[in-house]
Every structure is written in structure tokens, then in C-alpha cells.
């Protein structure tokens, strides 16, 4: 077994606590407690961080539920969702320019990061008004350029996440939010994923990470201004900006909330939808014959899909320990 671990994180409202935990020595404090070393590595390119995790460069990585299924799991890397820290509750949204309802999206070009949660959100939004993806044209657009892209005349519809989303909405009178993730609560989940094998060999890693995470959570719950300011600054905005992003994020400040979410029956249902969406878009891997090709295991032991090919496991072991104060 090893005692040095690397976990990748990316700048995003729900993952900024990791930066604070690293900067303030909370991570190393917890790591020390368990006699290991943990380094949190900041990677700017979100996809690159997951790719590197899938290729084995990192022991853990932050990602959404959908990407966890389509990248590491589809690459055959058995992964465990250690902490589901929050779900998007308005952090992702569909914007139309000068149009007010979701159904008006029909026939438009929609700029979004293709095959990402934005794509999924759009699909759910279209579904909600009886349309399908065939009724729009998706234009792959890099997330960093969304704000600038919106000002261009060609762009009439867009799906993106925060901070770009609120940036666009506050600065453009023409922008109307017609659908957002608060309509599909709990379907876009931000989580920390750890390699299952590493986890099995090193439960200490999971304990330290979970401990550190919920220590920061308790600070945030108290509204610790210093902590929040640091997170704001690291994500390139100010306190007010960061707080408004938090408003549309359903953070699980208490381990018990996180535990409840992990054990809820909504989770398997969500993952089924995500799996089907992914299969429809050919991102479950080329060998995938159907949406059940990749097996997913849930905290209650249920398995969705192929039992012999379980590659994504949602676990509650360590969150439960946190809730029970055993860390």
C-alpha cells in the first residue's frame, strides 16, 4: 500500500472547498491524522483532469455523475463516488436570447459544451416541452468562451453553467433563463471520485478526504467570511459573486444530508436516465451494446446494468462515518 496520494480538482463553485482545505492545511491535517500524505492538484482543464485520472495519474478526481460514468467507468476504471458534495440547483441553465420560453428553442443553434452535463440538461429541457434533440442544432463551444460568445449575433441559444450563466444573465437584458437545473433537482451531482482499488487498499485516504471535506463544510455552513472570500478569490470572483453561485448550488453542509441523498431512491433513477442519455450519444464506449452495459452499484447494494461490469460505485460508507462522528 502507498501513503502518498494525488487528487485532482478543478475550479467550480462546488469544488472550491477543496482549494480552501488544501491552502489552509486542513487536508494535510487530516492526512497526518491517518498517517498519509494527500496532495490536491489544481487542473484548469476539467476534461484533462478526468482523463488523467482515468489514465491512472491521479488517485481521485472531482467530476459530475455523468462524466464519472462516461469517462473513467467507460474506460474500464472502476471508480467510487466517495463524496457527493452537492447537486446543481440552478447552477446550470438554458438561456434564450430575446425569447422567453423553452419551447421557442425549436430550430435554433444551441451553443454548449457537447456531451457534458449541459448537453444532458438541454435534453431534459427539450423533453419537458415535448421536443427532442433533433429539433435543435448543438454547437460545441468551449465553456471559457461562453460569455464572449453570447455577445456575438449568431448566438441565439445557449446552455451553460456558473459562473458564466449568471455573468450572462446579469449583463444582458436580452438573456432569458428558460430552463435550469432546479427543475431537475439532484440529477447533476458534483462529486469526488476515487479509484475503487486504491480505496479498497487504503481506506485511510477516504477517511482523511471525507474528514477534511466536512470540516470545511461546517465552516461554510457558519458562513465563515474568510473561508468564503478565499474560495471566491481563487475562483476569480468576489465574495458576492461566489455567494450568488452558492445560492444555486444545493450544498450538503451536513454529513447527514449527504448521506440521505446517497441513500435516496432518486439516485438510481437519475443514473439510469444519465446512462441512457450517454448511450444515445455514443459516449458509453464503442463496445457498448446498450445502456446497461456499464454496471453501477448503489449504497443499498442494488446494481443497475451489467453485474459483471460494475465500474461505478456510489458508496456511503465514509459519509456515514462522518455523520456518526467516527472520523
Amino acid at each position: 500500500t502507498k501513503d502518498k496520494f494525488q487528487v485532482a480538482w478543478t475550479i467550480y463553485v462546488g469544488w472550491m472547498p477543496w482549494d480552501y482545505a488544501q491552502q489552509e492545511g486542513i487536508v494535510s491535517k487530516w492526512a497526518e491524522k491517518y498517517g498519509i500524505e494527500i496532495e490536491l492538484v489544481q487542473v484548469n482543464d476539467y476534461i484533462e483532469s478526468i482523463n488523467q485520472y482515468s489514465a491512472g495519474k491521479f488517485d481521485g478526481c472531482v467530476m459530475t455523475n455523468m462524466d464519472a460514468l462516461t469517462i473513467p467507468a467507460a474506460s474500464g476504471v472502476d471508480s467510487s463516488a466517495l463524496i457527493m458534495g452537492d447537486y446543481s440547483n440552478g447552477n446550470d441553465g438554458v438561456i434564450l436570447k430575446n425569447k422567453k420560453s423553452m419551447s421557442e428553442v425549436k430550430g435554433l443553434n444551441v451553443n454548449l459544451v457537447e456531451l457534458s452535463v449541459s448537453h444532458y440538461l438541454l435534453a431534459r429541457g427539450l423533453e419537458s416541452v415535448g421536443l427532442s434533440e433533433k429539433d435543435v442544432t448543438v454547437v460545441n463551444t468551449s465553456d471559457a468562451d461562453m460569455v464572449a460568445a453570447y455577445s456575438s449575433d449568431e448566438v441565439t441559444a445557449m446552455t451553460t453553467w456558473n459562473p458564466q450563466l449568471s455573468e450572462i444573465l446579469t449583463n444582458n437584458k436580452s438573456a432569458n433563463l428558460v430552463y435550469d437545473s432546479s427543475k431537475i433537482p439532484g440529477e447533476i451531482i458534483d462529486m469526488l471520485v476515487v479509484n475503487t482499488e486504491t480505496l479498497k487498499d487504503n481506506p485511510k485516504l477516504a477517511k482523511a478526504l471525507t474528514g477534511a471535506w466536512f470540516e470545511v463544510m461546517s465552516l461554510m455552513k457558519k458562513g465563515d467570511t474568510k473561508a468564503l472570500t478565499m474560495m471566491a478569490e481563487a475562483s476569480g470572483t468576489d465574495l458576492a459573486g461566489y455567494k450568488s453561485q452558492l445560492d444555486s448550488t444545493m450544498m450538503f453542509y451536513d454529513p447527514s444530508e449527504a448521506l440521505k441523498f446517497a441513500q435516496s431512491s432518486a439516485l438510481p433513477a437519475t443514473m439510469k436516465k444519465v446512462s441512457e442519455f450517454s448511450f444515445d450519444h455514443g459516449i458509453l464506449g464503442e463496445g457498448a451494446p446498450n445502456a446497461e452495459f456499464i454496471g453501477m452499484e448503489f449504497p443499498n447494494g442494488d446494481i443497475y446494468g451489467d453485474k459483471k461490469n460494475v465500474k461505478l460505485r456510489f458508496i456511503d460508507t465514509y459519509v456515514k462515518m462522518a455523520a456518526e462522528g467516527q472520523l
Binding site: 469517462i71 467507460a74 454547437v139 464506449g285
Partner: protein, 274 residues
């Protein structure tokens, strides 16, 4: 024994030696890929050769379910059009700016520092402004290439124009040429093959900008596909695409070289340069 510098390989040896590094890389790849796949058969980083074959079959030979077109052909033609258009516009601009810049002292005084400064601006960093000015469509992608490549070409052409021997320009004047006819009959024809050379040199940069532009906003194109499938780490698609881009770049370079020789038989520069 002769000095190493004086030893020349025979044609056969040269061929063998030339192929060798490619073979080594190939073998190296296969071994590395096998090792990774033995550990995790679903590993996507270094796919096996058969996965490549499948990916190529899927992308190049099977019509897409969504549009009924061959993705690979679509991507290639979209990218080549953008590249071609971008480079063409850059070349024309470079002629229009570079010749006066090298030829007319007043223009040089006015624009030379500005062009020099402009050529240092990293275009990627001012994308938002470019989007506003050029929109998000095809124009923007072509514009990014133009903005990235033109300053390089202009500076090279300016240099080349000012390298035309003063004797020739004086001679042309004694033959009755005006500034305009001298540009038309002396400077332009002499600079054309140099432009081809410059284009060949900057083509690598043009590709970088093309791929970046397609990564920003697109629905097809080689760069688009690479960035899209990166979302599920489909190296079985990415690597053949990279090989294909490399091959295309090679071919374009070769064609430009050949056309320079064909179009400008008097110009030996093209030959010397390779």
C-alpha cells in the same frame, strides 16, 4: 576509416535508416499499448491497432447515424476549407501590406512598429473581442487563422521585399518604371515564390490556430472532432486523426513545394530550402 562527416549512406541504407525511427516508435507504441491493455482491457489511452481499425472504419467508412454523412470526410473538408481560406486571405493580405511596407519608406515608417507589435499579441487571449467583431460562425474560425498568420507573413514578406537588390530597383527606374509599374512588374513577380516559401513555413502555425478555433465553437472539423471525443478519451479516434493531420500537413507542404518549382522555374530558393 573516413571521418564520420564524410561517410555517406547508400540509397538503400538511407531508406532503411529513414524508416527505422518510425518502426521503433511503432513497436514502442504496440508494446506500451499491450501492457496497458493487459492491465485494463478497457483502457482508452493507448488503444490497440485493431481499435484504430474499428475507429477508422466507423468514422471514415460508415455513414453517421445522425446525418448520413461520413464524419471523417466532413471533418476533413470543413477543416481544409477553413485552412485554405484562412491561408489564402492571409497571403493576399500579406502581399497587400508587406509589399508597400518593404517598398515605400513612408509606409514602412508608419506601419512597421505597429505590425511588429501586432505580431506579438497572442490572439487566443483576445478571443472575446474577436467574437464580437467576427461573430461565431465560419468567419470567426477563418479570422483566427488570418489574425494568427498574417503578421508572420507580412513581416517575412517585408523583409524579402527589402532584400531585393537596390540595383534591380534602380535599373527598373532607368528603364522608365514608376513606383506602381515597378511593384507590378519587378517586385510582385519576384516576391511571389518567396510568399509560397513563407506560407510553407507558417503552415504549422496555421494548423495550430485552426485546431484552436475549432475547439472553441464548431459542429465539424478535425479539431472539433478531436476536442469532442476528448470528452470520453477516445484515443482510438484522436490518434488516427492526428496521424491524418500530420499526413495532410505533409502533403500540403509537398504540393506547395512542387507548385513553387513549377510556377517559378527561375526560382531556385525552393529547391535549396529543402
Amino acid at each position: 576509416m573516413k571521418r564520420l562527416m564524410n561517410l555517406r549512406p547508400s540509397k538503400a541504407t538511407a531508406f532503411f535508416l529513414g524508416v527505422l525511427p518510425f518502426l521503433i516508435i511503432g513497436v514502442f507504441y504496440i508494446v506500451a499499448s499491450d501492457l496497458r491493455l493487459a492491465e485494463n482491457p478497457n483502457d482508452k489511452l493507448l488503444p490497440s491497432l485493431s481499435s484504430f481499425a474499428e475507429a477508422v472504419d466507423r468514422m471514415a467508412l460508415t455513414p453517421s447515424k445522425r446525418t448520413g454523412e461520413l464524419l471523417f470526410v466532413n471533418d476533413t473538408s470543413a477543416s481544409l476549407q477553413r485552412l485554405g481560406l484562412g491561408v489564402l486571405i492571409s497571403a493576399v493580405l500579406a502581399l497587400l501590406i508587406g509589399i508597400p511596407l518593404g517598398f515605400i519608406p513612408f509606409v514602412r515608417a508608419g506601419l512597421s512598429p505597429f505590425v511588429a507589435a501586432l505580431s506579438m499579441v497572442p490572439p487566443m487571449a483576445i478571443l472575446p473581442i474577436l467574437f464580437i467583431v467576427f461573430g461565431m460562425g465560419e468567419l470567426a474560425k477563418v479570422a483566427l487563422i488570418v489574425i494568427g498568420v498574417t503578421p508572420l507573413l507580412v513581416r517575412d514578406l517585408q523583409q524579402r521585399v527589402s532584400e531585393i537588390p537596390a540595383e534591380q530597383l534602380i535599373k527598373a527606374q532607368t528603364l522608365g518604371g514608376s513606383s506602381w509599374t515597378i511593384v507590378l512588374r519587378v517586385v510582385l513577380p519576384q516576391i511571389m515564390p518567396r510568399l509560397f516559401d513563407s506560407v510553407r513555413i507558417t503552415l504549422g502555425t496555421a494548423w495550430i490556430f485552426l485546431i484552436s478555433a475549432e475547439a472553441i465553437a464548431a459542429t465539424e472539423g478535425l479539431g472539433y472532432r478531436i476536442f469532442l471525443v476528448r470528452r470520453y478519451m477516445a484515443m482510438d479516434v484522436i490518434l488516427p486523426y492526428v496521424a491524418w493531420i500530420t499526413f495532410l500537413a505533409f502533403m500540403i507542404d509537398y504540393l506547395l513545394k512542387k507548385s513553387t518549382q513549377k510556377l517559378f522555374p527561375w526560382y531556385s530558393g525552393a529547391k535549396e530550402k529543402e
